[in-house]
């Protein structure tokens, strides 16, 4: 469960990105495709080469959704409701706990490479919990 402290840390951390959110999104996706090649199977229609416009624009979408979730930490279910439908009925990505685990890992690495020491154990814990909560919500309607 996200504590008040977790929520504060998440919002602060996101705030530190200062406009670089989209870059972070694209980088997280690129890292994910590179470290976990099976995740590419969900994007056969994409140009997955480094720096591709599609990765950039999809990274931007992902980050916008996460940013929105971060503004609505007290009601993730509602904030992510549309996305939850999309993932369950349309995209049918394997239960998000697996895919999000890879995206979560790569997003955290992207954050850690930017924040260095500021990616403290407490921040790490809060972000990990947040991504886990997002994964749960996205998986709600799978069956």
């Amino acid at each position: 469960m996200l504590t008040a402290e977790d929520k504060k840390l998440i919002q602060q951390t996101w705030g530190k990105l200062g406009g670089a959110e989209e870059e972070v999104g694209a980088e997280a996706l690129w890292r994910m495709f590179h470290s976990y090649p099976p995740t590419k199977t969900y994007f056969p229609h994409f140009d997955l080469s480094q720096g591709s416009d599609q990765i950039r624009s999809h990274g931007k979408k992902v980050v916008a959704a996460l940013g929105n979730a971060i503004k609505n930490l007290d009601n993730l279910s509602q904030a992510l409701s549309e996305l939850s439908n999309l993932h369950a009925y349309n995209l049918r990505v394997d239960p998000p706990r697996f895919s999000l685990q890879f995206l979560s890992q790569c997003l955290q690495v992207a954050l850690a490479t930017r924040l260095g020491k500021e990616y403290t154990p407490e921040v790490h814990s809060a972000v990990d919990k947040f991504m886990s909560a997002v994964a749960s919500v996205l998986a709600e309607k799978y069956r």
């Binding site: 980088e27 890292r31 590179h34 470290s35 955290q108 490479t113 154990p121 790490h124 814990s125 990990d128």
Partner: protein, 147 residues
């Protein structure tokens, strides 16, 4: 047997050469206990684990983290025989310590994040991919003797 390209070996060696095993090991283990608190179940004899600060400064955590990462160093010296290298440790974790191998994956992922925070932009996507592969095969080797 796992195949390592020359580039992968180079990425592993160059990162490892700059790592303080003591510092990095302590940090990785502390983060495991902080981010995934249920893992504390294996360390009930370690004393005060009541808060992130307590965990980070706990001398037993630091010492054990160093031990764990030192063992990782052995794996790096024996990339072509990880299962052999970890045979005894695998039996130990199964028969004596009763550790669910899922925990190896968790620690591996945490180690990658610790490296990312340490090396910042030098921890490139190629670097991460190689290290994710390494922690994955180490976890696999450690789980190999489970029965």
């Amino acid at each position: 047997m796992v195949h390592w390209t020359a580039e992968e070996k180079q990425l592993i060696a160059s990162v490892w050469g700059k790592v303080s095993v003591e510092q990095c090991g302590a940090e990785a283990l502390a983060r495991l206990l902080i981010v995934y608190p249920w893992t504390q179940r294996f360390f009930s004899s370690f004393g005060n684990l009541s808060s992130p600060t307590a965990i980070i400064s706990n001398p037993k955590v630091r010492a054990h983290g160093k031990k764990v990462l030192t063992s990782f160093g052995e794996a790096i010296k024996n990339l072509d025989n990880l299962k052999g290298t970890y045979c005894k440790l695998s039996e130990l974790h199964c028969d004596k310590l009763h550790v669910d191998p899922e925990n190896f994956r968790l620690l591996g992922d945490i180690l990658v994040i610790v490296l990312a925070a340490h090396f910042t932009k030098d921890f490139t996507p190629a670097c991460q991919a190689t290290w994710q592969k390494l922690v994955g095969v180490v976890a696999h080797a450690l789980a190999h003797k489970y029965h």
